[in-house]
């Protein structure tokens, strides 16, 4: 009885609430509720500032109000064509990646483990470009071990620099969709530096993905399956005729092209056989005919002496492939839930076009469905998108380095070039935990009020153990003493006899890596919120809050939340009017920190 009463009250309240919502949104977004699932293009008369903002948020990394106004003045076709046909836009002004010189010839091919590096060095008298010391010398393999750890650290640092370079490209590129698609493919064809251990491979893969980001799926698939980084990441060097390794074939089918449930275990094994001998000679693809299985295979109903490219073509002949890849692009650009009709429709047209990505993107980005209520401001921003788009909306031209970009996004679960595994980032709600949600706000407090003095650059940071070793060496201890952990007598004995000291190697490797990698210049964000509100003619607390909301939020603030922010700023300023003065900038920064910490701000 009580329950029924509650429900009645609830329904009454809910229906009045809904009625209001519909009424309120009707004036802003005509027909947007009925547009869900409609893939036909919107017309010029439906174009608006809000819709242009939505488009650039998804097809890029957001924009300033000035830029959105410019897009809103064009037709939707022209805006979408401009985004999709980005080759026409000159991007030569973008800075190339300024590589450090960290690889020298002896380091290739890099051994899979420290143990293997040592074994090779013992055998050949040298390793990783370093000669071992004469017999009888203490720690005669030390130079090789130092070099091994140097390489790990140097590649980590170089990958951090590469990530920062890419972030700057996302921020500054006049072709935002090119970068957004490249980021999509990076998650789709996930490859991580911590396994590859070679930033050059990551950089090369990044260029390959960018060059084909809006091209053809077949080219992308062939490109990624011949990509040295991917070949190393999935251990395809171990996929040989005598011992086929299923990993490569399995990921191709399950993650890259068809999705689970659309092939058999036998198909996986047969695909693996077709890719035997696909390997790399450091930075180039190599077909090792000796290790390739030229025998007959039966894959998805096709029989013959199939090779890797035959497998790819057979996969592309499956209707499910079009649906799987188009569906994934849809979930990335439009919304998480895809109806089976839309999926089938997009999949069919994608396959019929010979898997051209541009027409698919054009269709999705122009569709009424893309601008329908369930698609707008319902996507949880990825950490990289969150940080880059914030800087973009602030009007910054360069990514600040205090706080550190990689640390910021990494703490939220996304480090460029380090996806969690071959499945990439799961995205959506998995970005959010109570701790990461607090952290998503805390980050921007660091941006607004940077701790320049207390900042410790991660590209020059040592682990606690390495720091301890360094301190002890500086105190005049010898290597044995400086690297001793724990109190056991046996530790000392062992160190005296061994050919190298790993702990010292870690420390020495750090020092050399710090010397050879270029330093990341450190600067905090060049923000001038005072100038921003003056330019916007926001001379009252109300207008400032409205300006920040319009500039940064995709979801309108509830009236009560808007009022809270207005009264916060009013309390800070001691008045409703906004006048330049000593405390204005810091008050505005506090206010913006609040805006950027709201649940609303997580949505794009």
């Amino acid at each position: 009885m009580i329950r029924r009463l509650h429900r009645t009250v609830f329904i009454v309240l809910l229906s009045s609430f809904c009625a209001f919502t519909v009424a309120a949104s009707a004036s802003m977004a005509p027909a947007a509720d009925e547009w869900a699932g409609d893939l036909s293009p919107i017309s010029a008369s439906d174009w608006s500032y809000e819709r242009a903002a939505h488009l650039i948020e998804r097809a890029g990394f957001g924009a300033t109000p000035e830029e959105i106004t410019r897009l809103a003045a064009m037709t939707p076709e022209r805006v979408v064509n401009g985004l999709v046909d980005y080759e026409a836009i000159d991007a030569s002004g973008l800075k190339p990646f300024d590589e450090s010189v960290i690889w020298d010839p002896g380091m290739d091919p890099f051994p899979p483990s420290r143990a293997e590096a040592v074994r090779r060095a013992r055998e050949h008298g040298e390793g990783l470009g370093e000669k071992i010391l004469p017999v009888g010398t203490q720690r005669r393999l030390q130079p090789v071990v130092d070099k091994f750890f140097y390489s790990l650290t140097a590649n980590n640092i170089e990958t951090q620099r590469l990530g920062l370079w890419w972030a700057n490209r996302m921020l500054a590129s006049p072709r935002p969709l090119e970068e957004k698609l490249t980021l999509f493919w990076h998650g789709h064809f996930a490859t991580g530096q911590n396994k590859v251990r070679d930033y050059r491979m990551m950089f090369q893969q990044n260029r390959m993905l960018r060059a084909n980001a809006s091209g053809n799926l077949r080219t992308l698939l062939v490109g990624i399956l011949k990509d040295p980084g991917m070949l190393v990441y999935l251990d395809n060097g171990e996929n040989i005729k005598s011992h086929p390794n299923e990993n490569f074939g399995r990921e191709l089918l399950e993650l890259f092209s068809m999705g689970v449930g659309n092939y058999s275990e036998r198909d996986v094994r047969e695909a693996a056989r077709a890719f035997t001998g696909w390997t790399n000679d450091v930075l180039t693809y190599k077909f090792d005919a000796e290790q390739h299985d030229f025998g007959d295979k039966t894959f998805l109903g096709r029989t013959g002496p199939l090779n890797g490219e035959d497998i790819i073509d057979t996969i592309l002949a499956q209707p499910v492939t079009g649906e799987y890849v188009a569906g994934k692009l849809y979930r990335y650009f439009v919304r998480e839930d895809i109806s089976s009709e839309v999926k089938a429709d997009l999949g069919r047209s994608f396959r019929a076009s010979g898997y051209q990505i541009k027409p698919l993107m054009r269709r999705m980005l122009l569709s009424k469905d893309f601008y329908s209520t369930p698609s707008v401001a319902t996507q949880i921003k990825s950490p990289v998108h969150l940080v880059v788009s914030t800087y973009k909306k602030m009007g910054l031209r360069e990514v600040p380095t205090i706080p550190d970009f990689g640390r910021m996004t990494g703490g939220l679960g996304q480090t460029l070039f380090e996806p969690p595994n071959v499945a990439g980032w799961a995205g959506g709600r998995t970005w959010i935990t109570p701790a990461t949600l607090l952290q998503r706000g805390n980050l921007f407090r660091d941006v607004m009020f940077p701790d320049v003095k207390g900042f410790r650059p991660p590209d020059r940071a040592m682990s606690a153990t390495d720091t301890r070793v360094g301190e002890r060496l500086a105190q005049g201890m010898n290597i044995t003493e400086a690297t001793r952990e724990g109190d056991a007598e046996s530790n000392k004995m062992v160190d005296r006899d061994e050919d190298y000291n790993t702990r010292y190697g870690g420390y020495a490797g750090n020092l050399l890596a710090f010397k050879r990698t270029k330093l990341i210049p450190r600067q905090s964000a060049a923000i001038d919120l005072t100038a921003m509100v003056i330019a916007a003619r926001a001379d009252t607390a109300d207008k400032v809050v409205d300006h920040f909301a319009r500039r940064f939020l995709s979801v309108p603030l509830a009236q009560k939340d808007r009022a809270l922010l207005v009264s916060f700023l009013r309390d800070k300023l001691g008045s409703s009017t906004v006048k330049p003065g000593d405390t204005l900038e810091s008050s505005l920064r506090e206010l913006l920190y609040l805006v950027l910490s709201t649940p609303e701000y997580q949505l794009g």
């Binding site: 709600r429 109570p434 009560k560």
Partner: protein, 400 residues
Amino acid sequence: MYGLGLGAGLPFILNRTSAALAAQALEGTSVEKHPNRILVVIELSGGNDGLNTVVPFGDAAYYQARPKLGIPEREIIKIADGFGFHPSMVGFERLYKDGNLAIVHGCGYDHPSLSHFSSMGFWHTGVPNGGESLGWLGRVADETLDPKQRNLIVNLGTSQSLAVRSRQHSPLVFDDPARFRREGTDAEKQTLAELSQARSTTNAALDFLAATAHNATESSDFVRRASAAYRTPVDYGQGGGLAGNMQRVAALIAAEMPARLYYVTYQGNNFDTHVQQADLHSRLLMYTADAVRGFIDDVKRLGRGDDVAVMIFTEFGRRVEENGSLGTDHGTATPMFIVGKGVKGGMYARHPSLTDLDDGNLKMTTDFRRVYATMIDEWLGCSQTSTILKGQFATFKVFA
């Protein structure tokens, strides 16, 4: 669009009403057999040397493969059938003698990966050599726990483990409770707490975020207070990292945190003992055994002994043969442990042969998902075990 112009109090009424309705709707309809049971999973990252943990001292091949690292028979804590614990594991000896510890021999999976990263991913997802994006514990939560209830998964670590990644649940992830907080001045925090109220709009993602934000504000305070206030006479040993985290779990259980799944990581790839492993490994095992023993004693003291079970795993064992640096390299099969008052102690499954090897590595005898299935089916009492694990896996009757 989302409540513009509504009276300020309305969203709160809506929220309370819907919460009350949800609670009533669930009342009496729960399919859970054991709604009070808690599962704590401990990850020993780096690849623990199983052969020097549960030592097969009765097999001469062990000493042949480990001339320098083999644990002398006289030092081993003998348990049964030629097996014994590493001498530093007195904590496990106690648990084993009390009948509260099960050892499952030879755990692994087909086509083992020797990469920390890949192998750990396989254990996290419970899908070896596959590309599953959700964690096995996350899927347990998705299948069995009410998505409207908060804080059912707690993950103590610097970042969220893939193991707890869930479609519907938002795990509470923190490392140092003192740092699990919102930054800012009191005025900023006060305003943000008000801006983070749960709400009910037409945008489900926004409602989720607001609910999580509200939860974060409340639970970070709760976690900080529970940890700061917790006092226990139980000694968890010296292993700062793990002992501290296990004590934090006990503190949350004592404070009646609703969490059902706890995930604790022994941080920093510590078990990756390639070099001079003897002393280091001895310390790690001592810390682990002491922390687990302390935790079990502590939850018994809290009167929750019957409700708590611990499962311990690592991403792989190590090669049978020691290497030239007085350490061991990455290997394959390794024992898992199940601990708790409700456990039928003893040894389960067959130990792999030390001589019939695959390229120097043990051939696993037990698919690790059988242990997962045991925890899901027997301990948590969930009937969807095969859906969660994407296959049928026989359980061990450790709890029956």
